[in-house]
């Protein structure tokens, strides 16, 4: 009982981390809360399905194209829409929420969502890990999650663009004085966040299928992980996903599968009451706890 819990909790945590990474990255760099995040995830899944089944491209190519496409859509979302209302949080929230809802409901209306819209796994089959059978897709999720975190860490600490992004996140005015283009960085951050959502869709969707509900679920889980971990902290995302991932597995084993969402919300509430800036949101604590 303990070993499956440990292994599947880790897998569930990696799934949550992959879902939340893009949302956290966008908010962390440009302070744009992208409420269209769930819709971008579903759009990515659908476009990958379209490339794969209608245009008969290979799985790898379809996923790559869908990541590029959704990344561009995210960048366009900033360039065309959000740039006009930058700095007005009410308008930013309404615009992203409205556009996300429009995309999801349009897909639902045209019937592009349902159990036969799914993506195939990279390799089928399962491998016993310490005697617990785990299929390759889930193993791959854990490995890819780890690789992605490492890559992002290298990107933000050792490349010029990544350092510029962190500069914008720390002090926008000072970064602009140093010649960093704030709008370009924000475009990049929304685009990168959307691309990460697409990547998550590509690896997570083989476990289920494309549905409107998955759009709202993804957004809720991303929000839960980000609040618990601290809204702009990447380490926070990692720790919070593992925490919520294990808590969800425990609830599934002892209570039933319906309680996953409830666990996520309880995590949000407990965090807001006990430590509003999240586990790793230290330096913002005074500003947030009004």
């Amino acid at each position: 009982m303990v070993l499956p819990l440990l292994i599947y909790g880790l897998i569930n945590g990696s799934i949550l981390a992959l879902t939340a990474l893009g949302f956290s990255l966008t908010y962390g760099i440009s302070r744009v809360a992208n409420f269209a995040y769930g819709a971008l995830y579903v759009l990515a899944g659908f476009s990958a399905w379209f490339f794969l089944n209608r245009l008969k491209l290979s799985l790898f190519l379809s996923l790559l194209l869908s990541i590029l496409l959704i990344g561009l859509i995210g960048a366009a979302l900033y360039r065309i829409a959000l740039i006009r209302v930058r700095g007005m949080p009410t308008s930013e929230i309404i615009v992203t929420f409205a556009l996300g809802t429009a995309a999801l409901e349009a897909l639902r209306f045209f019937g592009f969502l349902g159990s036969h819209y799914t993506l195939p796994a990279f390799y089928s089959g399962a491998l016993p890990v310490f005697g617990v059978p785990v299929d390759y897709q889930r193993l791959f999720i854990v490995i890819l999650g780890a690789v992605l975190f490492l890559a992002l860490w290298i990107f933000t600490h050792h490349t010029k663009t990544g350092l510029a992004m962190r500069a914008i996140a720390q002090d926008e005015q000072a970064a602009m004085m140093a010649g960093i283009d704030s709008d370009f960085m924000a475009t990049l951050s929304v685009g990168l966040g959307a691309g990460l959502a697409a990547l998550a869709a590509g690896i997570l969707l083989p476990l289920s299928y494309i549905a409107t509900e998955s759009g709202s679920n993804i957004l809720v889980y991303a929000i839960a992980v980000c609040i618990v971990g601290g809204l702009e902290s990447t380490t926070g995302v990692l720790v919070a996903s593992l925490l919520i991932g294990y808590a969800q597995m425990l609830s599934v084993i002892y209570l039933g599968p319906h309680y996953q969402m409830i666990v996520a919300l309880l995590a949000i509430l407990v965090t807001l009451i006990l430590r509003p800036s999240g586990i790793f949101g230290k330096h913002k604590e005074l500003e947030e706890r009004v």
Binding site: P89, I93, V95, V220
Partner: protein
């Protein structure tokens, strides 16, 4: 020759802003007309409606107007953007069902109690995010309706996916139509009035800069709690009323449409005006009812309309009308 458009206040507006409002009948009429005439029109609407169907559309528009009013009040007062108006609506609706079906209270008492109890429940639910600023309120309100509908679905409480049926209807059709219109008029005028009292000014100040208000030694969390309680009472009333209107309450009371349409109404009518959302609701809801055949495609239309208006025409109808009524425009040479 370069020209620019200049706007200046009309003389009668300047006079009636002041004690001189009482100096002449004309000044008094200037102030009264934009308040009295639309209210009279609103009260006449059910009589003018050609059929029971249109009367029902008017009642629905009034319910959405209440939800939009509650959204706008939160935004205008403490600057909190709610992405889950259906939380207030659903809590009110289910409470009405419980009070009426399970406890057997009459519609009047059930309506009153679900408004009050609904306000308390919603405020308690939202309390954890109230001491914080920023996007916490939007995120938490987005999560709650989804969560409550999942809980009801998972546990099968309150009728589960079937909902509660057999809720008593209102006593007669006139009560059904005029009660909500009366409450709508009362709520919109009293909330606008509230915002110009000391209490309301403090609320608006919190919306502008909470730290400064806090530095004045004012307990801002207490003020935020009262604002949320007022807004959720208005929303819960609309939800409870809806349950009695359709004699049914189900998971649709937490649907996304109830969260996005009020925002669209507020933006069409003019955000931060309190009366604008009411006007917006009476424009958008009949359109939405006319397009009922389109199913969920309607939500796509409101969402796109909403995003387009926010990006390109954020002013809203009421602000436009107000400008025309209060100011003259003329071209001047620069």
């Amino acid at each position: 020759m370069a020209r620019r458009k200049e706007r200046i206040d009309r003389p009668v507006k300047v006079l009636s802003d002041d004690i001189y409002a009482l100096a002449s009948i004309r000044n008094m009429l200037y102030l009264a007309a934009p308040r009295v005439l639309p209210s009279l029109l609103l009260l006449l609407l059910p009589l003018l409606a050609p059929s029971a169907y249109f009367q029902r559309v008017i009642t629905l528009a009034a319910l959405y107007a209440l939800l939009a009013l509650s959204w706008d009040f939160l935004e205008r007062s403490i600057g909190a953007v709610s992405l889950g108006q259906s939380l207030f609506f659903g809590v009110g609706g289910y409470l009405a069902g419980v009070f009426n079906v399970t406890l057997g209270l009459s519609p009047f008492w059930a309506l009153l109690l679900s408004t009050g109890v609904g306000a308390v429940i919603c405020t308690v639910l939202l309390f954890p995010c109230l001491p914080l600023r920023g996007i916490y309120f939007a995120m938490t309100t987005l999560v709650y309706p989804l969560l409550l509908s999942r809980i009801i679905e998972a546990t099968g409480l309150l009728g589960g996916t079937d909902g509660l049926v057999g809720i008593a209807p209102f006593a007669n059709a006139w009560v059904e139509q005029y009660l909500v219109l009366g409450v709508l008029l009362g709520a919109s005028f009293s909330l606008s009035r509230l915002l110009s009292t000391d209490f309301g000014v403090t609320l608006s100040a919190i919306g502008d800069d909470d730290q400064t208000v806090r530095a004045c030694g004012i307990n801002i969390t207490l003020y935020k709690i009262s604002a949320v309680a007022i807004a959720s009472a208005v929303g819960a009333f609309a939800g409870a009323y809806f349950s009695f209107l359709y004699m049914f309450v189900g998971l649709s009371a937490f649907s996304l449409e109830l969260s996005i349409l009020p925002i669209a109404c507020a933006v069409v009518g003019g955000m931060r005006t309190l009366i604008g959302p009411v006007i917006g609701a009476f424009i958008l809801v009949p359109l939405a009812e006319g397009a009922r055949d389109l199913g969920t495609l309607r939500i796509v239309f409101y969402s796109l309309l909403l995003a387009g208006l926010i990006l390109f025409k954020p002013e809203g109808l009421l602000n436009y009308l107000r400008r025309k009524y209060q100011q003259v425009e003329r071209w001047v040479e620069v």
